[in-house]
Each structure stands twice: as structure tokens, then as C-alpha cells.
């Protein structure tokens, strides 16, 4: 059943991707227009879509900084410690 469901979605990959984008847009719209900001801890959180931007930037920064760090020489061949 699980395999069938996954195959069903994979056969319609473009549609799934488009629906995901629509979902993201709706999420931000919901946040901007409907979510009360009374629980916000800081002023910056009142910027519309702040956490969406935060999540996206965090992800990009983590990937780029980590890969940059790894390629400084931290990542090395697998038999590095073998004699």
C-alpha cells in the first residue's frame, strides 16, 4: 500500500511539486493575514513571513557553510586513518 502510494505520487511528480509550492504560498498567506502575533518574543518576528525566510535562509546557510568547511580539508579519503 505504501509502495503504491509513493509510486502514485512519483508518477505525478510535476503536479506534486506545483501543489507543494501552492501549499507554501498558502502557509505564508495564513501567517500574514490570520495568525495573531501576540505570542511573538521579539520585534523582528512581526515582519510578514519572518519564519519562512528564517527557515529558508537557515537551510541554505547551513548547507553552504558546512560544505565550505568540509572542503577546507576536513573531508578526506576513507582510508585516511589506515596505515
Amino acid at each position: 500500500m505504501i509502495v503504491k502510494l509513493i509510486d502514485f505520487l512519483r508518477d505525478r511528480l510535476q503536479l506534486v511539486i506545483r501543489l507543494s509550492y501552492v501549499g507554501l504560498a498558502l502557509l505564508v498567506a495564513w501567517d500574514v493575514f490570520f495568525v495573531s502575533k501576540e505570542h511573538a518574543h521579539t520585534a523582528v518576528e512581526h515582519i510578514p513571513g519572518f519564519w519562512a525566510a528564517f527557515g529558508f535562509v537557515a537551510c541554505v546557510v547551513i548547507i553552504i557553510v558546512s560544505k565550505w568547511y568540509g572542503h577546507l580539508g576536513i573531508m578526506t579519503r576513507e582510508d585516511y586513518y589506515d596505515n
Binding site: 505504501i2 502557509l27 495568525v35 505570542h39 519564519w51 519562512a52 537557515a58 537551510c59 547551513i62 585516511y80
Partner: protein, 598 residues
């Protein structure tokens, strides 16, 4: 007070472990389920019965084996529960001693959780290290042996720091060994030594490299145990003694980010999960550092949730290793058709660790971040939120994607071997998966168990703002993942971590032992030959000549005596450097002990 009857759950496991090898084969499987269940029941029977039990007089001390209170109960509950799940997951393992090692290891953790003084703590602390190393050695590969020794060496060093700390503390407090709040306001050398002992087990950088090293190499079911107990026992010890110690906040935040960075680089599934333990324990350490009631609740809740979801993740990735023999992303991929159940369970673990609404991480992690915002420690709260994006990126997306989807890197053999794991592994994963969702969906179950239940009852994670915040962070992280997916393609590489220093340092020591020390040793021996032995022998020879030629028959025997002294001198001063160093060090140690206790 010493009450009538109190059964230590660790005792059940220890006795159970020693009986196991003698049982007939047909009885073993039921027995493997019954013993940890009994331990769990004994913890359940203590609920609501707070107090001090199991006090034993030993020499001048009263040793406390059973302190039952809110803090110890929440940890004991989840640890005995995890022991049941882990044992069921490993039910197919036929080597009795793997089970024995696992149970003794859990017994070590429980001993620390319930102990009331540092002596008992130290005893069980060492039991943990010495029992768990077998879970690495039983993997039976050539590397396992070396990894196990490194693991043991690092933990012995940590244990020594702890021991030194408690000896100094014993002296400074005039004989007080009770294990409680250590006085973080006025730390002394002993405080820091004890702290180092705890931080090493909590895998706080720079004392963390043992963790991915050992957990990536442990047996499939051994890793499920290891990921749950050592670090969380250390979190308990920190929460007990170091609540509110400021330095733990930056340390915890660094841990949370450090684990995330190395997880990006990692190619081995279980090592990636291990780096994420460091990241997640970072939240708990930061929570302990913040030290408010909400933060301590958060640290405990997160430890509780973490034991289950991390166990589940190790079970999921472990089942891939068990079935295919592979654990590297660069040798896996596209397996959803072959291992759908393992995928679903791992995904539940991934969503829980990522703190998706309705999963366990959502109701526990948020408490720590909220406590950070509450005390206006904004940078810590924001950086922890940043790390949680990284958590979803790796454990929620990278792990499932590159094992079950993505480019199929499987060899023909791997592909043929891949299938969902045996029933007992699926049952273990099923129980953990159920609890992950149950905790996330029904908060009173976990919140009522926390050390400050009234504070927990006033905390509501399910409000629209928090839901919107979490969903935005997670789903936009997913967007970033799919846009940058090419950058994340697995590379068959290893990443150098701080274990480089002792792995290469070990080689340096080996070289040092082979070359300069051996050279010095032979120099000293030679020196003795020239300075000590030759003059003695010459003297002896002279006397012999004198005896022979001058006073022959008069002072018969003098030469023989002198020659005898020469020989005796030679035996005492063997000239072997290692003995001399050993005697000197022993003398210093004895002097130190006399100085401290006198």
C-alpha cells in the same frame, strides 16, 4: 530513612543478565522480554513514592542507592521502557553476551539515576563505560576492536577527571559526598573536574569525538542502546548538579550547531545520526544552563522524547544495515520498494526529531527554546531554532531521501538482500513510533511526569503562532533542501574530527615509545653498565686478584662477598626505565592520597 522493601531496577537487570546464559534455548526469548518488563514495573511501582531508599553502610559512609524524586523518576521511566524496546528489537541476536552487556549498561545508567552520592555514582558510571564497550566489540570487525579501545580510553579519562573532582570535593567539604546541586555560584577546581567528567559523557565539544566513532561502529542493536543511555544519563547528572550554570548555555548552543555541520558532511547513516545526538543533547545542555523550572522541564522532556525518536532512527537505519550490510549513503538509495516499513518508521523518527506538530519533538524542544526567550537570551534561542532547521534538513530529509529515494547506488547484491527486517525489529520500531506520536499528540502523558508538573501544565505548545512558526521553518527548510539537493549528494569521504588528535597522537606516542623512549631506556641501561656495574665488577676483580695473590687464604671470601653485592645492586637497579617511572608515579599517587585524606 531506610524503608522495608525497595527493589532497585538495576538489580533486576544485573541478576537477570547473569542468569540469561544458563537458560535453555526455548526459554530465552520470553525471558528477554520479561526481565526488562519487570525492571519497568519496579519503576512504575515507585511512582508517587518519593523518598530515599536503599541506604547501605560501607566503612565510614552511608551509600544511597535509591533517591526517588521527580527528576530521577522521569529518567528511570524512559530508560527502563527503552530497555524493553531495545531488547525486543535485538531479540533475534543469539549471542547471549550482547544482551548481558546491554542490560549491564542500562543497569549502570539506572544506578546513576537513582544514586544519592558520588561514590555510588562513580561505581555505576564506570559500569556503563565498561559494559557498553562490548556492544562495539561484538560487531567483530577489525576496526571494532580499535574503536572499542578508543572509546574505553576516552571514558576512562573522563572517569578519572570525575574521580579527581570528587576526591577534591570530599576534602573541601569535609567528607560530604552527597550528589546534589553542586553550588554553581562559587565553582572551584573540583566543580570543574566533575563538570568535565559529565560533559565528556554528554559529548560536549571538545570531548565529543568518541560518540560518532563508537556509535557508527557498534552492533545494530547495540547502537540502539548506546544512543539512548550514556548522553542522557549525563544530562540527568548535569540537571541534578549544574542547573543554572551559565557556561552550559553557550556550550549547548555550540553543540547543537556543531552536530549539524558535521551531519552535512557525513556519508555514513549511523554516524550522521550520531552527530545529531550531539546536536540534540546540545538543546538539553543549554536547557540545564538556563536552569529555570521551565528549562529543566524542557531538558527532561527533550531527553525523554529524544531517547524514543533517536532509538527509532537507529533502529530504522540499523535495520537497513542488518538487511543489506551497508550503512553508507553512497552505497544505498531507492530502497522504498524493498523496505517500505523501515522507511515509514524512520520517517516517523525523522519527523519527531524535527519537531513536526503532532510528533514528540514538537512538545519537548519548544519548551527549551521558549525558556531561552523567556529569560531574554535571544541569541541562544535563535541559534537553537537555526539548528532545528538543520535537524529537519538531515534527519528528516537527507536520511530518508538518500536511503529510500534518490539515486540508486545499491550494488546488485545489496539490492537483492534488501527487504523489511524480521518481525521483532518491526515490533520494536512500532512501539517507539507509536510513543513518538502519542507523546506529540497527547501532552499530559509526558508533562505530568516532569520534575515541575505544575509549570509544565501551564505550558501550551499548540497555539496558532507556534504552529505557524514551526511549519514555516520546516517547510521552507524542505524547499531549500530540494533546491540545493545536488550539493548534498553523498560523497564517499570521511570527515576529520577532534579524534584526529588522539588517533594521530596515539601514533605519535607509539613512535615515541618505539624510538626515543627505547633509546633513552637503552642509554640508561648502558649508563648503569658503565657507571654502576663495571666499577663494581672491576672492584670485585681487584679484590679477587688481591685475595688470590696477596692475602691468599687469609681473608678468604671477601672477593666473593663483593661480587655478590655487585650482583644484588644490579638486580635492584635494573636500569629499566619503565620500572623507575612506575615506582616514582606510585610514590606520588600514595603521597597524594595521604595528603587528601590525612
Amino acid at each position: 530513612m531506610i524503608t522495608d522493601f525497595w527493589l532497585h531496577p538495576a538489580l533486576i537487570l544485573i541478576v537477570g543478565a547473569f542468569i540469561l546464559p544458563f537458560l535453555p534455548k526455548w526459554l530465552k526469548r520470553p525471558y528477554l522480554v520479561i526481565v526488562p518488563t519487570l525492571a519497568f514495573l519496579s519503576v512504575l511501582s515507585m511512582q508517587g513514592q518519593h523518598g530515599t531508599f536503599g541506604v547501605v553502610r560501607f566503612l565510614d559512609w552511608h551509600l544511597t542507592f535509591g533517591r526517588v524524586d521527580g527528576l530521577s523518576m522521569v529518567f528511570a521511566y524512559i530508560m527502563t521502557l527503552m530497555c524493553i524496546i531495545g531488547t525486543i528489537y535485538g531479540l533475534h541476536v543469539e549471542e547471549d553476551f550482547q544482551h548481558v552487556a546491554a542490560w549491564l549498561y542500562v543497569a549502570g545508567s539506572l544506578g546513576v539515576i537513582f544514586c544519592g552520592d558520588y561514590l555510588v555514582l562513580f561505581l555505576f558510571w564506570e559500569l556503563m563505560a565498561f559494559a557498553s564497550v562490548f556492544l562495539v566489540w561484538f560487531r567483530g570487525r577489525r576496526e571494532s576492536l580499535a574503536v572499542g579501545y578508543r572509546y574505553l580510553l576516552v571514558h576512562t579519562a573522563g572517569g578519572l577527571a570525575l574521580l579527581a573532582g570528587l576526591v577534591l570535593r570530599y576534602q573541601a567539604t569535609g567528607g560530604d559526598l552527597s550528589f546534589g546541586p553542586i553550588g554553581v555560584g562559587s565553582p572551584s577546581l573540583s566543580t570543574y573536574l566533575i563538570l568535565i567528567g559529565f560533559l565528556l559523557n554528554a559529548a560536549v565539544p571538545p570531548f565529543h569525538a568518541w560518540l560518532p566513532d563508537a556509535y557508527g561502529e557498534a552492533t545494530v542493536s547495540g547502537a540502539v542502546f548506546m544512543c539512548a543511555f550514556t548522553t542522557k544519563t549525563a544530562v540527568y547528572a548535569l540537571a541534578r548538579a549544574f542547573a543554572g550554570m551559565d557556561i552550559l548555555i553557550p556550550l549547548g548552543v555550540c553543540m547543537a550547531l556543531y552536530g549539524v555541520v558535521y551531519a552535512v558532511l557525513e556519508n555514513d547513516t549511523r554516524r550522521l545520526l550520531a552527530y545529531h545526538i550531539i546536536s540534540q543533547v546540545g538543546y538539553m545542555v543549554a536547557g540545564v544552563g538556563i536552569g529555570t523550572e521551565l528549562a529543566i522541564n524542557g531538558a527532561c522532556a527533550h531527553a525523554f522524547a529524544h531517547i524514543l525518536y533517536k532509538g527509532l532512527l537507529f533502529m530504522g537505519c540499523g535495520s537497513v544495515l542488518h538487511m543489506t550490510g551497508k550503512s553508507k549513503f553512497s552505497e544505498l538509495g531507492g530502497l522504498y520498494k524493498k523496505m517500505p516499513m523501515a522507511f515509514v518508521f524512520t520517517m516517523i523518527g525523522g519527523l519527531s526529531i524535527s519537531a513536526f506538530p503532532l510528533f514528540s519533538g514538537f512538545v519537548s524542544k519548544a519548551m527549551i527554546v521558549a525558556a531561552g526567550f523567556e529569560v531574554h537570551n535571544y541569541w541562544a534561542a535563535f541559534l537553537l531554532t537555526l539548528a532545528s532547521a538543520g535537524t529537519f534538513l538531515h534527519t528528516g530529509l537527507k536520511v530518508p531521501y538518500f536511503i529510500w529515494f534518490g539515486k540508486n547506488n545499491c550494488s546488485r547484491e545489496t539490492w537483492d538482500k534488501a527487504a523489511d527486517p524480521p518481525w521483532n525489529m518491526q515490533v520494536g520500531m512500532g512501539i517507539a513510533a507509536f510513543l513518538c506520536i502519542f507523546i506529540g499528540s497527547y501532552t499530559p502523558y509526558l508533562y505530568n511526569m516532569l520534575p515541575y508538573p505544575q509549570i509544565a501544565a501551564g505550558y501550551h505548545p499548540y497555539n496558532t503562532y507556534h504552529l505557524s512558526e514551526t511549519l514555516q521553518i520546516l517547510l521552507f527548510t524542505a524547499l531549500g533542501f530540494f533546491l540545493l539537493i545536488k550539493k548534498l549528494a553523498p560523497e564517499p569521504k570521511i570527515s576529520i574530527d577532534l579524534d584526529w588528535f588522539y588517533r594521530m597522537g596515539g601514533r605519535g606516542f607509539y613512535w615515541l615509545a618505539r624510538k626515543p623512549i627505547q633509546w633513552a631506556d637503552s642509554c640508561v641501561s648502558e649508563g648503569y653498565r658503565y657507571v654502576g656495574l663495571i666499577p663494581l665488577m672491576t672492584t670485585a676483580k681487584f679484590w679477587s686478584w688481591f685475595d688470590w695473590h696477596a692475602i691468599d687464604g687469609v681473608v678468604d671470601g671477601v672477593a666473593k662477598t663483593v661480587r655478590g653485592i655487585g650482583g644484588a645492586m644490579r638486580r635492584v637497579q635494573s636500569g629499566q626505565l619503565q620500572y623507575n617511572i612506575f615506582y616514582a608515579v606510585s610514590l606520588v599517587a600514595v603521597a597524594l592520597v595521604i595528603y587528601v585524606f590525612a
